[in-house]
Amino acid sequence: MMSSVLTASLCGLDAEIVRVETDLAQGLPYFALVGLPTMMVKESKERVRSAISNAGYDFPMRRITLNLSPADTRKDGSHFDLPMAVSILAAEDLVDLDGYEDAAFFGELSLDGSLQRSEIGAALVLGLKEKGIRKIFLPEENVPELSLVDGVEFYGARGLRSVADHLNGYNHIEPRVYEGAYSLALSEPDMTNGDFSEVKGQERAKRALQICAAGGHDLAMTGPPGAGKSMLASRIVSILPPLTKAEALEVTKIYNIAGNLRDKNRLIQTRPYRAPHHSISYAALIGGGCVPMPGELSLAHRGVLFLDELPEFERRTLDMMRQPMEDGYIDLSRVGYRNTYPCDFIFIAAMNPCPCGYHGDPEHECRCPESTRRRYIGKVSGPLLDRIDLHLDIQRVRYSELSGAGRAVSSAELYEGVMKAREMQRIGNGERDGRTVLNGDAGVEPSEERLAMDAGAEEALRRAHLVFGISARRSAKMKRVARTIADIEGSGAIRAEHMAEALSYRQKEEAEL
């Protein structure tokens, strides 16, 4: 009397197929669960026993051995309830698995036998699909959020009884299959954080953000309080191209695992914009915990990470960001776990020029001694700032500008330039893993042809080397930024004006100030 049922367990972002095997043998009633279950999985025994009884079946009065195979990996989560119950019923011949040997099951059971929505449903489904599973029995409430997963039959069940009835051939559950799923949210930019036209008189900053969005560059803004740094940064999502389907699923998976799905029944369809407070611990930022969970870096994957008041962050915390930012992923190792989470985002940092915030402000007097100011700026390590492509000083807007002399450029106009640049990059840089390679992507070297400069641009860069003391390393960065600007303007070669504009975003040395 043996049965086996498929399910999955998560390790990091990936799922591993787990076979739930049940053997019923003669002997005193006993329920043994093996295969490295964590405490949470061990508790399943009690839920499964009650759920089976309350679904109207007799719990087998025999020696039950339940094995979670492969037995050498840790199993965690409450979603093992359903496969365990089905496996027991199948071993007792109470359900017939004929035709569903290749189906997978997951879901947490209540004592009354009903199924609860699984927080990690999307992650499990995506993992199972990757492993070739095409039929999945799962809690009914999980089905709507999977509308972007095509080619899989979803059997959304209300409880254990309806699963059993379906398997036994009556009260058929109509499987839900999403084909060629289309979502409106994935075709338009996300305007939830507002439109750039609402920010008056910061046209230069908007231009810088457009360059960031177009080429995936990082940006550091320095300016006094009230200049609108966070207001500007948050609106960058309105000019970023919408997530692709694959990206939406990738991001949903991360949020699933972090238990952060804001809108319970939906997948994440907009680019994440994460702005953690500066009191954040390093574990919350890069990820951690005894079972390592994704941190803010990973939650910002495919989106934007905004750190306001950069020098207020703990230096150690900031320094931890450097490696993951370069690699695009983060490795978290703990006893028995080694999880890798992706973290590829646009990094935007904002800081005040000094502790009081008014250094260089024409209307307020700065009260900070020079040494205090230097110490404040020095809290952010050089290597971190060095990784940032664009550096921008911004000023508070005078009232006359606020009240509207000039016209404020809108997100729609900026978005047009971003999309043009993305298309240029798609053609010029090509694609990798289904994504356009962006000029700001760390690990990728743009081709010689793409970085071709006309004589004027060459001359500008040469002068910059002499006048501003731009190092070779910086000039490589400047070329990338100039390339993005040329892409926005639709130019094949980098021209002098593109290079000159890029150079205006150079990092200024303290000596230059």
């Binding site: 007097e365 020079e370 000083d393 000039g406 000159a500």
Partner: protein, 286 residues
């Protein structure tokens, strides 16, 4: 710090500057590192507040540079803010500069100026009346101000608040019969109050740097930095900066009806030509 290259000049040494020997309370000896001949060069002191504003720093730096370009040695105190800017300006102008310290000559105060101090030791002169190793005290810094003014033909106060040490230098200068210039500032700004008061009390307002050079007989090396090889749009931006003083890119873009992007490019090109400076979101004619 190597102590062997310190030159000690006693008051009766012939290298000891006459102008300094003449003042009351002249120092007994000077400890020097660098080009000792600068003690007798034609010099002007440029001093100002430590917590100088951008304006004050700009003024000190520009005056320092223009003086250096005209062959006048710039004397200052190597303090934070305006003093530092004056030294940097002088070095930029390819000229000579003298730093008078209020502590032992082997001590760098403020410590952030180590690089600057080394550069002045190489290209100019660092002077102190205190023996090597002497820590600076509350009174030593104001006291060395008499040497700053004593070494100079004139004293320029670039920016000073009401209780600024620069006012002490100005006072010494008056006692020693030196001409005092003060850079005027906004009358509602605390950090300009000191300099403005000096003007009220009889200091010469420094309205044109050329005036200062003319008074010194140094003559303007070149009239006003007015470059000729500018393209049309560059000329427009340059003229705007000259007319308005400090302008942000946004303001300039709307005034000249050009896109922010292309204006940014023009400003950077002009910056590389040395015609404009761009700092903290604003550009101006240096």
């Amino acid at each position: 710090m190597a102590t062997e290259n310190i030159v000690i000049i006693e008051r009766d040494d012939e290298r000891f500057p006459e102008s300094l020997r003449a003042i009351t309370d002249a120092p007994k000896r000077l400890h020097c590192i660098g080009d000792v001949s600068l003690l007798r060069a034609k010099s002007v002191a440029v001093v100002g507040a430590r917590r100088a504003t951008d304006y004050g720093r700009w003024a000190a730096r520009t005056i320092g540079r223009r003086l250096a370009e005209s062959g006048v040695c710039v004397v200052s105190g190597m303090a934070e803010g305006a003093d530092t800017a004056a030294h940097i300006g002088a070095l930029e102008g390819g000229g000579k500069t003298v730093a008078v310290l209020g502590c032992g000559i082997d001590i760098c105060f403020p410590t952030g100026n180590k690089k600057l101090k080394r550069e002045i030791e190489e290209k100019g002169l660092v002077v102190s009346e205190y023996p090597p190793g002497a820590p600076g005290g509350k009174f030593t810094f104001p006291r060395r101000n008499r040497i700053i003014s004593g070494l100079s033909a004139a004293v320029v106060v670039a920016e000073a608040g009401v209780a600024s040490g620069s006012l002490i230098t100005a006072e010494f200068a008056v006692d020693q019969g030196r001409e005092v210039y003060a850079v005027p500032g906004n009358i509602n700004r605390l950090l300009s109050a000191g300099a403005n008061k000096l003007i009220r009390d009889g200091a010469r307002p420094l309205v044109l740097i050329d005036d200062l050079l003319a008074d010194l007989g140094a003559g303007a090396k070149y009239a006003q930095n007015d470059p000729t090889d500018l393209a049309e749009e560059e000329r427009a931006v340059f003229n705007l900066a000259k007319r308005c003083g400090e302008v942000t890119i946004d303001e300039a873009a709307s005034l000249l009806m050009r896109s922010v992007a292309s204006l940014t490019a023009t400003v950077t090109l002009l910056e590389m030509k040395g015609v404009l400076s761009y700092e903290k979101g604003r550009f101006f004619v240096p």
